[in-house]
């Protein structure tokens, strides 16, 4: 009985999933096709010799800036632990993630806000 219900769930899950894939709307299908073509275009790109250098430089700068921001005391007064700060840096510097580097102005501005400096732990309890 138990095995039968397990098999039913496995089978039904596959069926429902397949149906949902088959019923994807045209717009989503089109976007997925474009995504595939963009990925395949990578095959035609010559290997970027030293192409990683600007990124590495940017990542180092970002690490320094974010590190200074996190360890400068703005976060350390509250419950923002060193571990969390390191984890945040790691996230911010994750591979292929340039958005955060582009937001450094924002973080610099955030740091300069008096109300931010006045808070005990501005990032506490936010998930």
């Amino acid at each position: 009985m138990n095995d039968r219900r397990q098999s039913e769930i496995e089978s039904a899950a596959r069926k429902v999933f397949e149906q949902s894939v088959g019923e994807l709307d045209g717009a989503t299908r089109s976007k997925l096709t474009q995504a595939r073509h963009r990925a395949l275009a990578e095959l035609e790109q010559p290997p970027a010799v030293f192409g990683w250098l600007p990124r590495a430089a940017l990542a180092t700068l970002a690490a320094a800036a974010v590190g200074v921001w996190l360890f400068s005391g703005n976060g350390s007064d509250g419950e923002l632990t060193e571990t969390a700060a390191v984890a945040d840096i790691e996230i911010l510097l994750s591979d292929d993630e340039l958005e955060f580097y582009e937001e450094l102005d924002f973080y610099a501005w955030l740091e300069s806000q008096p109300e931010f400096n006045g808070l005990e732990d501005p990032l506490d309890g936010a998930g």
Binding site: E10, V16, F17, S20, T28, L123
Partner: protein, 196 residues
Amino acid sequence: MISTVLTDDCMNLNVEDGATGAQHLDGFLRSIEGRAYRITMMTVRDADEALDIVQEAMIKLVRRYGKRPSSEWPPLFYRILQNRTRDWHRRQNVRRKVINFFGRDEATNEEVIANAPGPVSDDPLGQLERDAAMASLETALGELPDRQREAFVLRNLEGMDVKQTAVAMGCSDGSVKTHYSRAIQRLRERLGDHWP
């Protein structure tokens, strides 16, 4: 399932020739793109973000593993996809911290749903039932711990064997079996006796 979607010619091919490699990669990506999108949507629940994650995973697979034997692509692709999805959730948490500091509201799921194109069907009642069944499954899967969900999705929905799943999840065969068994147990409890 991947194994049935990919032809025998495509499997175990050591891709050397550019044109042939592109064709095989195209075939592989075509076979998994819709499924990858659906799987990503289960946890991300944002169409644009899910599309971005799938595209990033495709690009990374092509860039780094396009020359690998095609039999290795499924577990590699899903490993990349899982990592990208996990990274996305972690970055969301960091961003939420900043956003909450300013008391700004994030886009709600309702907005995403409202903006999503409606389904096209000649059988609206059947469509509703299928949608409800899928929604229940998505909800139940969404409530599983990450590793259990991954094991169930890869083993059952993607049809990978234990070894492929272990590669995709970056764990041992035994762990895959344990996660899968617990996932099934929880899904049974969550979905009840009458689903779908």
